[in-house]
Symmetry: C2
Subunit: 367 residues, 2 copies
């Protein structure tokens, strides 16, 4: 499980009264523990109850009447909507949500949109019909339409890894794709690479766009012109590993000495292609991924990547949902990633070494 | 998506009347299409309707009154219970279930037990309270208790990858773990290995036991005595990749020249450990996995493994559930696996080659 890297809040909302969420944070317990302590629930020990009740007084906590009335109608179920369960990124995010939800007495139902916007609408409607208390969405394909879809809905929606919500009614917990992509490319620049490729995907259009933007900004900051030949976004498949595999040849032809991949799955496909072609990583090609999925530490060689705190993203989303159910207006959160340097990135090889490895030389020296 | 490898049915149930499921199979359409065709539903084209109605007459189909009354009370939702979403085996099974379910007009809710029997009970109860029309369970920890738990329940339960149901009320679709494990070890025996290790896990006790049994039976059939030093089941972690990683040294000490791993995740951990120790796979050690998860084709080198037809397991389970909802008593199914030979298995190296690679020699020649 990832460490808590601290959270920066962005996007401001109006100042609100103290919530059980705030008390929970101060007391370092869950919101449900605060709620039970304030109701003298028998499951909470006398000492904890006393400590929390004193803290609530000290913080001028006023129980929220709306929140109280909502509790009576609860189904104690949370719906999650994923693009697909087969994406290795998703598992730990769901575990993070479940970790907080179960502790607070909520069950979690997971549904998938299978990357299909029509399915996403159908699933969201179905969850509302089944009266879930809240919905958490990852990798939405419809985010821009949510304000319209949920205009009259009282069901709170938290979106993971989407930003710039088009409405105040929407909430998000997110990693900053642009900034984290910038960080990845900056790492390659610092190692001395200037011919840096990007491999993108088409079935995650928003985050692909943001990571590509981070790539562009990092190169621009280093005064390196953008070469379209180094940006590969295959359209013939949505299989991320296959995308990595088929992108090797065009990148070599374009003279890449290092590659920033949309995610770790793409990087794994690229690693496999390098091995099949007899190229050594990182000697012949440096590779950096994104996500830090579980397997990233076990690839051959172990993968350098930008970690998304997946478990924490899930935890934060569920804590935010609990706060909303408590009648509060929590702030959106940007959770920082972390550069994890393993063994797929190194200084670029000399032209002579590349010639010996039968790799095309850089067509232009852009420095 | 996997090919349909054909299905063998085991365990006999009483002969029953022709169901829409049977008609669907013959007509090569979904059960819901048959159902709609028989009800003259406008969404079904005239030609298909005619063909299906003729087929129904020809097969002496009699609409089932119980099934008809059940339809009125349907919630059109199916619950799935997984041990964990983070297991890469699960994704495609869920997709197989969803593929059939969505086509038949059902939504699928996924919940997890997090490998906790208490959670599994809680989740099953919650799904019943929410009146799902059926439940599909993968990697159950409570299978033996289901007859008691579901004694009075009308909610049908299909279990994936559990066999020998203790009650007629239970249904399953399964791969035969013993037979498929036998097949994996047989492949290593045919290559000439006799010092074959097994790496097991503790958080899937049933299937671990069955795969170990297949391993034992294959060795016994080849008149090779079982050496406990070659059977490694680490108890200090439940992380499958980590289990593979820490099992390398004891296996080398025991003189293993080949290893059958509980699953592909274990094999990936073992591959990583070999690379870190400077051992070549398969020259210094042959490795075979189980499952054929998506990444198995992209490891370095690509992993030899026993494929479980994951998508098909999900499809079959959902088709079986539709048959039960149609008032029928479908037969349990054993779905065959398939040996997928990639590049991690080869003939054993000579003792001289092993000495050069600084690998301990086999302590005994058991042949």
């Amino acid at each position: 499980m990832e460490q808590d890297h601290g959270v920066q809040s962005r996007s401001h909302s109006r100042p609100t009264a103290v919530s059980i969420y705030d008390i929970a944070r101060r007391a370092n317990v869950s919101p449900s523990t605060v709620s039970r302590a304030l109701e003298n629930h028998p499951r909470i020990g006398a000492e904890t109850r006393k400590r929390i009740q004193e803290l609530a007084r000290e913080m001028d906590y006023v129980p929220n009447a709306v929140a109280r009335s909502l509790i009576a109608n609860r189904t104690w179920t949370i719906g999650m909507v994923l693009a697909t369960i087969a994406d290795p990124f998703m598992g730990r995010v769901v575990e993070g949500v479940e970790h907080v939800a179960i502790e607070a007495g909520f069950n979690v139902f997971v549904s998938t949109s299978q990357n299909d916007p029509q399915r996403e609408i159908a699933v969201m409607k179905m969850l509302k019909q089944r009266r879930v208390d809240g919905i958490i969405v990852i990798a939405s394909h419809l985010f821009d339409q949510y304000p319209r879809l949920f205009y009259r809905s009282k069901t709170p929606v938290i979106v993971i890894n989407e930003q710039k919500p088009p409405s105040d009614a929407m909430h998000f917990v997110s990693v900053d794709d642009i900034r984290e992509a910038y960080r990845a490319v900056e790492h390659l620049l610092k190692l001395g690479h200037s011919r840096i490729g990007y491999i993108g995907v088409t079935n995650r259009p928003k985050s692909n766009q943001h990571r590509l933007q981070g790539y562009r900004e990092a190169l621009q900051a280093a005064s390196i012109p953008i070469d379209p030949a180094l940006i590969i976004v295959p359209e013939e498949t949505q299989d991320h590993m296959r995308i990595g595999e088929i992108s090797l040849e065009p990148l070599l032809t374009a003279g890449a000495t290092a590659v920033f991949c949309y995610n770790d799955a793409v990087a794994i496909g690229l690693l496999s292609a390098c091995s099949k072609r007899g190229l050594a990583v990182p000697e012949d090609l440096s590779i950096i991924g994104f996500d830090d999925i579980d397997i990233a530490a076990y690839t051959v060689p172990p993968l350098t990547t930008v970690r998304q705190p997946r478990f924490q993203l899930g935890q934060r989303a569920m804590l935010m949902l609990l706060a909303i159910l408590d009648g509060q207006e929590p702030e959106n959160e940007i959770v920082p990633g972390e550069l994890v340097i393993r063994q797929t990135t190194a200084r670029p090889a000399s032209d002579q070494a590349r010639r010996q490895a039968h790799i095309p030389l850089r067509p232009v020296d852009v420095r």
